[in-house]
């Protein structure tokens, strides 16, 4: 089964950037524009990794994470925060909710890729 990566961010730019980052690898990519949509995709696709923003309309990242963790099926689902938010309170809160890593924006794409690879096994697609 190819690893499934879900990116949840209200910025189309970030979602496209991540898509571009992971396209050279064998994986299935999913997107959501807010926490609410994110929850729906999680329930439907059961991804192997979530890259999660904090500041989003409808439902923010912390609320989404909290609700997701209430489901025993997703208690251990790896999450990497990718957000412009860097306050200690938010960091503490998401740490309690169990996130693998916390990347602040602006970010180095290569560094993010390294962090992702530590969580999901990514293999390069064969050159067409």
């Amino acid at each position: 089964m190819n690893p499934k990566i879900l990116s949840i961010d209200d910025s189309k730019t970030i979602r496209m950037l991540l898509k571009r980052l992971f396209t050279p690898f064998v994986c299935e990519l999913f997107e959501a524009g807010d926490g609410q949509e994110g929850l729906e995709v999680v329930n439907r696709e059961k991804p192997d990794l979530i890259i999660l923003d904090y500041n989003m309309p409808v439902m923010d990242g912390v609320t989404m994470l909290r609700q997701m963790r209430e489901n025993t099926e997703f208690k251990r689902l790896p999450v990497i925060m990718l957000t412009a938010e860097a306050s200690p309170e938010i960091i503490g809160t998401v740490a309690r909710l169990g996130v693998r890593d916390y990347v602040t924006k602006p970010f180095d794409s290569d560094q993010l890729l390294d962090k992702v690879i530590r969580v999901v096994n990514l293999e390069r697609r064969p050159e067409a």
Partner: protein
Amino acid sequence: MSTSTNPLGDLSAASGRALKEVFAKQLKLQIFESPVSDALPSLEGKLLHSAVSINGEKISGTVLLQVPEALAQHVTEIMLGSEGDAEEIRDVTGELCNMIAGRVKAELHASGFPATLGTPTVSIGQRIALQLRGESQLSSTDWSVEGDQSGDFNLQVQIRIIS
């Protein structure tokens, strides 16, 4: 221009740090501050403006980024890997302002002024200048991207202490 003795700190310096970090880390571009504000002709035409509001219990303000279309297109190419359409260019400009505002906000938080960011808005038009309202600090700085003749842009940060 803000002074360094006020509680918010030096907004111009904070702007500089935020911009340099965003441009270097996300876009891998070097930038430098332009000493004289009216020596940048590329900031005279149509510009893309992106604004993000900063709101906290003690402060309220705006971060405004203004870039000429050519620079916005260039930045979009870097972020997305290919030429973007009008919508993508606007979105990239907004996200850039979001990141810059995020760094400014982090510094304000460390100075004792926690706040949240609003959603970026993007519009096109002539150069605009934020007004100093009441007890607010305003910083307006012009910048150039190294090696890019049309890579000039302006950043304004206006913060008002509300309590």
